[in-house]
Symmetry: D2
Subunit: 274 residues, 4 copies
């Protein structure tokens, strides 16, 4: 018997509505939903420029980190509450729904004031107190796979969210840790069809963290959609060379535009609405 119950496939696919400032979008089987934006919110000017850019190029949802989990205590940890305020501004200005990460149970309320989707990052997939709190919230949760989590552990983390009553869970593959170190992580493309078989939850892929190199983002993004993913999470920065974090894996406007064109053609071929 499978150790997860609520996350297990039972016939129907879960499709989640994400409501922004003006309008909404859907994530799930049959759709191709694009989340884009910078790794971190860096300043008012930079997040507004990025938000307008990705909106104009067709992204459905804006990403941006206010609270950043950083391996070193000396790295830029994000703007925190001020970052949330800037995201609220970008939300109002562009109408795009917002996804942003929460690290600390004590920040949940503040994040919920701004976010339309709350992200649980790879390093918090096993943070059970955080999952339990979010299971009591009425907000979609984007649950990234732990960087060395098995598919079963990942689905059990989703189960934590669902067991408390929150059924709006989006699974996001972001690459796993292997012996190969020419890329930042190894994107496990096979989990896309595997999760579609095991679960009814939407599955998206983040090719930016998965590869760590902007040159690889476009081909891996296309692979994800061809494999059946319901969407993508892409790091886009107006000027990647000046980004405070993850510049190497961020697309600039031109590259994101090209990616969107190719993804649109692919989505059409696959019969996915975008």
């Amino acid at each position: 018997m499978k150790p997860y119950r609520l996350a297990a496939r039972d016939g129907k696919d879960t499709i989640i509505e994400i409501v922004g400032n003006d309008g909404s979008c859907l994530i799930g089987e049959g759709y191709c939903t694009i989340i884009a934006g910078p790794c971190a919110v860096e300043s008012e000017d930079s997040i507004l420029t990025a938000a307008r850019l990705v909106k104009e190029l067709g992204a459905h949802i804006l990403r941006g980190g206010a609270f950043k989990p950083r391996t070193s205590p000396y790295s830029f940890p994000g703007l925190g509450v001020h970052g949330l305020e800037l995201l609220a501004l970008a939300r109002k200005e562009t109408g795009l729904p917002i996804v942003t990460e929460v690290l600390d149970v004590r920040d949940i309320d503040r994040v919920l004031e701004v976010a339309d989707i709350v992200q649980v990052g790879s390093r918090n997939m096993h943070n059970y107190p955080l999952l339990r709190e979010l299971s009591r919230c009425k907000i979609p949760v984007l649950l990234k796979r732990g960087y060395a989590a098995t598919v079963e552990e990942w689905l059990l983390a989703a189960e934590y969210l669902m067991a408390g009553g929150n059924e709006q869970v989006i699974l996001c593959e972001r690459g796993i840790r292997t012996f190969e170190n020419m890329t930042r992580n190894t994107v496990d493309i096979g989990v896309v069809p595997l999760l579609k078989e095991l679960s009814h939850l939407p599955v998206i892929v983040d090719p930016s963290h998965a590869t760590g190199k902007w040159q690889m983002v476009r081909p891996v993004a296309k692979a994800a959609i061809a494999a059946g993913a319901d969407g993508l999470m892409i790091e886009v920065h107006p000027h990647p060379e000046t980004a405070l974090s993850d510049g190497e894996q961020s697309l600039n406007g031109g590259n994101f535009s090209r990616l969107m064109d190719e993804i649109r053609a692919l989505a059409r071929l696959e019969g996915k609405k975008m």
Copy 2:
């Protein structure tokens, strides 16, 4: 400085012509070449049926193992020389070029009498005497990635082949070993764009060994082509449920037909000849 030289990208892409009994095909950038057939040659009837099936459905090259590397000394090791004879028959009957594996330096001459491409399997990627012998042959070599080999080690294995004068090397990703065990291996889709950047050699993907589950073969095959692969190697068996090896990951005719239709549409979108 890169430790490999001849395998390193230098501007042009290598395109390899494979000549069968009547006609030929190309492998490399701009093409989408399909290799298909059973894991092992099992009998005259079964290999001929499989060969006709994959030819009819549009495969360009027939695969079939006469010498099989098996983890256990008690498993079916392939039909050996008799298997080669049956492959020769299938080659004559269908006109399809043949790819088959060689395990032992002492078998190279016999394999070369039949094969149009020689396969070096995953477990022999580090078999340097075998690579050195093949580097002196005038035959294309399909070099599978070692199941835990880094990209650099893989390109150095290609370098072994090229250093002796054989420039006809095809790289084949077939999944790597990771902590995840719900799938047989983890297909490293990112190596497709990575190899295209580092090397001029053709890159194909084997989604059958990579996943170990026939249900996952079609989505992962599509992912490979969308990521930029130059072709696929697919296990097809007329009756997978009776296969002596790898039945779980083999497509039957109906599923291979569906895969070919979808790959054709994708190849067209990507501007690849097929």
Copy 3:
């Protein structure tokens, strides 16, 4: 330059005093300190029996989980606050100092009332809010290695603790996740000398979680001390066959007694006080 500073070796070794209800012990270079007890606190009777048993056999510190991180939301999560009360009782009764895990920043104060060492478990090594809070506490922290964390990431997690002013950090290797699945984890014995070279912090090993099999605990425990570890963390349960969690990797009294005898002889040979 190394990305960690405070955790980096600078000549002297850190030796940490652990103060229990009557008396204290030291952890660090030159000592061999044994932490033992059950995976989880299950009942008053069971924790007191276990505490008396490990004390009698020579353990220096009692372990026992009140808050348990569990992969499934349906597994026994520990007794929580009541478990802390039972640990306080065992502390009072036996005089042994207590180490217990904290998962949630909101539980830190309550855990600090009882614990003499706070444990950060493998799944929380990247829980930066938790590390930041503990960095402001005046209590030794036992920092388990993330199950797929590199040595550098682990030392940076220690750096988080130290950067806020808490210098009492004990590193605990508990096995890493690899492709091998005959054991629960793969104990990375090489990190013991590696950490001794890179850092001044005490290093201990948990052979119970690392192997997942009680039969392997004794040999791996001895390996750890022979490799230079400053101590061990061992799961001991009066009746492993009835344990609510981790029974398979727990030693009973007889096996723990034998382990202690052999560790004592080894510590003497290595010139370590025990």
Copy 4:
């Protein structure tokens, strides 16, 4: 049912006698047998110096590579047949039995003229034609674990050797490939007790390849013996700084002497003859 039969434990332990030019030694349960010498045979002077050094310091068997598997076709491949002649000289001069690697089935006869133990290296553990040929020889085989082989695959490789009639198989753990890259490999110390439970074959450990750093060789060697290993394989070079390969992981005379002293004390404690 276990997939291996002849390699499976059946009560008694296999103890193998290794016969050199004058005298012999035993490998197996109850003994602590030391194999030492340089990575590669480099010259007459250097191998004789190394052989005398390790003999004087108490090694039982001399190691030295004549045929070297190298990742790059441009690296020093060993002296080949001339290397074998130099090993024969060292064997005659010191009386030490010789272990050396064979890569190519066509070299087996020549290697057998000199070697007292034939080594199958990590990259050839899956080279089934080589294993089958060696299974027909009357010579002990030191079978290194494939760098990413599971314990089951490793025991099945031993089964290949035994299935042909060669029962003199020595298992050698040499580290596995993981995500950690601060060390060359991760030594899987837990396999020592695991193999002792599963199999009757002798188990030794190579801490030199396992760690890749000479500073870590001594502690890991001690860990191996404490965990129950029947011996060690140690790279020793009179002048590691000038070695043509693996200098970084080779001990010089002084360090090897210290290691031998500590191993002797440990073997005495463990009741192993040395």
